[in-house]
């Protein structure tokens, strides 16, 4: 490469490099320093290096693992439900969307609401004395479950997350379904493929990359759940609804153990990178031969 071109290339990429160093590099370095220090709000400007004991403390803490398991379980369950529901809606409502595309905009509305507000909204809706759901259940059946209590909280959270974010899956999967060429379906139909066979042998394989991407995005989003969970039930009785984000938040702001909180977030960063790399590898489109 000529010298001038190389210089121009570096010059052009410099702003992006500076941007990345400032916005990602600096916090990362700071996080690494905090994670190997004894640091609270009182000495936040003068952390005291203590080696890797914050990492050891996080790894030895059963609540760290309980929070990780909660997030993983929640992320997997809601992602699967959202993808399946989004796929079903995209396929069954496709003829309707073709005639009335404005319906898609209507179905997207839940995504427009801030998750924290969604949490507050359901906290009201499900409250025994001001909420509509317990009121009507009591009127009709004489009883209702404790939606936010220990036994139901997880299910309620899954339903709330699903209701808000299934439209996202629907949007992507509808686009993917609509992008399948009619010629392909026509050719398959000429070969005798109909109904379920057409869907499972033609449509579904062609939609797999989109399904994978949708699952990938929804899993990331659900794994780091915080806002709606925090406003709806908080960490839960005995920490029963503590996600990884809430664990880190509590260690940082409530307990004031910034070193532990940052170490836990660094562990999460590494774990996330590995998991996402694996998912990405599984869902990536294979290069054409």
């Amino acid at each position: 490469m000529p010298r001038t071109s190389r210089f121009e290339g570096r010059l052009l990429i410099a702003p992006l490099t500076v941007f990345l160093i400032a916005l990602l590099g600096f916090p990362l370095v700071l996080d690494i320093i905090y994670s190997i220090s004894r640091v609270g709000f009182e000495n936040i400007r003068a952390p005291e290096p203590i080696g890797f004991s914050n990492y050891a403390k996080a790894i030895a803490d059963p609540e760290f693992w309980a929070a990780a398991w909660f997030s993983l379980r929640f992320g997997l369950i809601v992602s699967v439900i959202q993808v399946v529901a989004g796929l079903g809606l995209a396929v069954f409502l496709a003829p309707l969307f073709a005639k009335r595309p404005w319906l898609i905009a209507l179905l997207m509305l839940p995504m427009m609401v801030a998750p924290a507000l969604v949490g507050l909204m359901y906290r009201l809706i499900l409250h025994e004395f001001v909420g509509a759901v317990p009121y009507y259940l009591l009127e009709w059946y004489g009883d209702f479950p404790a939606f936010l209590g220990r036994d139901w909280a997880f299910t309620t959270l899954v339903v709330v997350e699903t209701l808000q974010w299934t439209p996202f899956a629907l949007l992507i999967l509808h686009s993917s379904y609509a992008a399948i060429s009619p010629d392909v379906r026509e050719a398959a139909a000429l070969d005798g493929a109909r109904g379920r066979r057409l869907f499972f042998n033609i449509d579904l394989p062609l939609m797999m990359p989109a399904i994978g991407i949708t699952f990938f995005i929804r899993f990331i989003d659900s794994f780091r759940v915080f806002d709606n969970l925090y406003t709806l039930v908080g960490p839960g009785a005995g920490g029963s609804t503590t996600s990884m984000s809430i664990y880190i938040y509590q260690a940082f702001f409530k307990v004031g153990d910034i070193g532990l909180a940052v170490a836990a977030s660094m562990l999460l960063l590494v774990a996330s990178f590995v998991v996402l790399w694996l998912i990405n590898g599984l869902t990536a489109r294979k290069a054409p031969l």
Binding site: F41, E42, N43, I44, R45, L126, H127, E128, F129, V130, P145, A146, F147, L148, G149, R150, A153, V233, G234, P235, G236, A237, G238, G239, S240, Q250, F253, K254, V255, G256
Partner: protein
């Protein structure tokens, strides 16, 4: 060029004047967004009307969210942006190293009861003037209790229920004479699933969310049984029989269905909603709830039918948790003299009268509260109860007191929800507290 020089010189002069002016002021960091802010604004206006220029007060406010953490970070960093700052009883130990103790003026000793002044003391030193106080009332429905005390059928049923659930036949009493057992019996009696004649669905509403403030509410029960965080030797004693009894009281009531099923997610607002709906007969709640609950527009179902007394008596006596908000002096302040003069004035009966009439909730001595009782009748009980029944747990002002509350909230809610046994919850609490409160 000459014009430019003149411009720069003028700008420098203005800047210098500005800096001097700012240094001469007393900057006060207050508690934002509530009646405390309204009270402080009025008080500051009154003070500034007569104060010398160098002593005039300027108010600044953070957002409430994360207030105490931001304040801790600022104090620790030696910020000189404020001379006087907010203090809270449960965070005193955290801030004390970065604040100057004050010497109370004689006037403040006449303004506040001694127990109220103690909410701003740490390690034997006074760190602030107590501006607002929070404590607990036992709220009850006067219409229901009146009937209970007069109706023979209800009395008989009350005796049956207390015998069945508590193992002894009790008779209804006036709420001001309740023991915690009487309250339990009343809560059981007014629970529809236990007594089909009950006009309310629940006998009480327990705040059992995993939240530190809910522990403060429950502590009024624990202290009445004789419970404390530490003994005089500094040993953690939360596994005492008294603490166990208090935890079991909540568990027993919750398991019996006297409180809503979702109580493990309830805090201040949810409990008020339950009581305000007219479906709850009694509750232990913060004094701050009274105004809204007794408002006919906000809660028509119960307004005008609410009685408040101090929490019931236990084997160790009658107690209410108290904690205060107050104002003290930043150690890094550049205008400590001005700050002292403002705090000395703030502790006078006149200043507190202005503060109380503008919405603040100071707990005042009888002589001072008499001046505001017509406009703020709620402050009468506040001062009386604080003086007679107020307590702070031994260790409740330690540097890590907030973390202790958080720890107890997590462990005790686990027990109440059935996730942990009482022994497991208490053992984990004791171990955690020993770590947090070690000298």
């Amino acid at each position: 060029m000459t014009r430019l020089k003149t411009l720069l010189t003028s700008a420098a002069l203005f800047a210098a004047l500005g800096v001097t002016g700012a240094m001469a002021e007393v900057t006060v960091l207050g508690w934002p967004g509530g009646p405390e802010e309204a009270g402080l604004r009025k008080a500051a206006d009154a003070y500034n009307a007569t104060a010398a220029d160098a002593d005039k007060v300027k108010l600044i406010f953070f957002n409430r969210d994360g207030f105490f953490d931001k304040l801790a970070a600022d104090l620790a960093a030696g910020s000189t942006d404020f001379d006087v700052n907010l203090l809270a009883t449960y965070a005193l130990g955290r801030y004390a190293p970065f604040m100057d103790p004050i010497t109370l003026p004689d006037a403040s000793k006449a303004t506040f009861p001694e127990k109220v002044l103690a909410t701003m003391q740490y390690d034997g030193k006074q760190y602030g003037i107590p501006t607002d106080l929070s404590l607990h009332f036992m709220y009850y429905r006067t219409d229901l209790i009146e009937k209970l005390l007069s109706d023979a059928d209800w009395k008989a049923k009350y005796g049956e229920i207390s015998e069945k659930y508590l193992g002894k036949k009790l008779e209804p009493k006036d709420p001001d004479a309740w023991t915690w057992e009487d309250w339990m019996a009343t809560a059981l009696f007014f629970t529809k699933s236990i007594n089909s004649d009950s006009p309310t669905r629940y006998g009480t509403v327990l705040q059992m969310k995993n939240l530190l403030f809910n522990m403060m509410v429950w502590h009024s029960v624990a202290r009445a049984q004789g419970g404390d965080w530490m003994n005089d030797k500094g040993e953690i004693v939360v596994d005492s029989p008294a603490y166990r009894t208090a935890l079991e009281i909540y568990k027993k009531l919750y398991d019996a269905g006297t409180s809503p099923k979702d109580s493990t997610t309830y805090e201040f607002a949810e409990s008020n909603a339950a009581f305000g709906a007219g479906q709850v007969a009694t509750m232990v709640q913060w004094n701050a709830a009274f105004g809204d609950l007794d408002n006919k527009e906000k809660t028509p179902a119960v307004a005008g039918k609410i009685g408040t007394v101090a929490p019931p008596t236990g084997p160790a006596g009658r107690f209410t948790h108290i904690h205060g908000l107050g104002l003290g002096i930043n150690k890094a302040s550049k205008n400590k003299e001005g700050a002292v003069r403002f705090l000395n004035w703030l502790g006078t009966p006149d200043a507190m009268e202005i503060y109380a009439k503008a919405g603040g909730s100071p707990a005042l001595s009888d002589a001072v509260v008499a001046k505001v009782s017509a406009e703020r009748p709620d402050l009468v009980k506040l001062g009386q109860f604080a003086g007679a029944y107020g307590f702070v747990m031994h260790g409740g002002t330690a540097a890590k007191a907030l973390q202790v509350y958080e720890l107890q909230a997590k462990e005790f809610t686990a027990y109440w929800a059935g996730d942990k046994s009482l022994d497991e919850a208490l053992a984990a609490t004791k171990a955690g507290m020993a770590d947090l409160l070690k000298p």
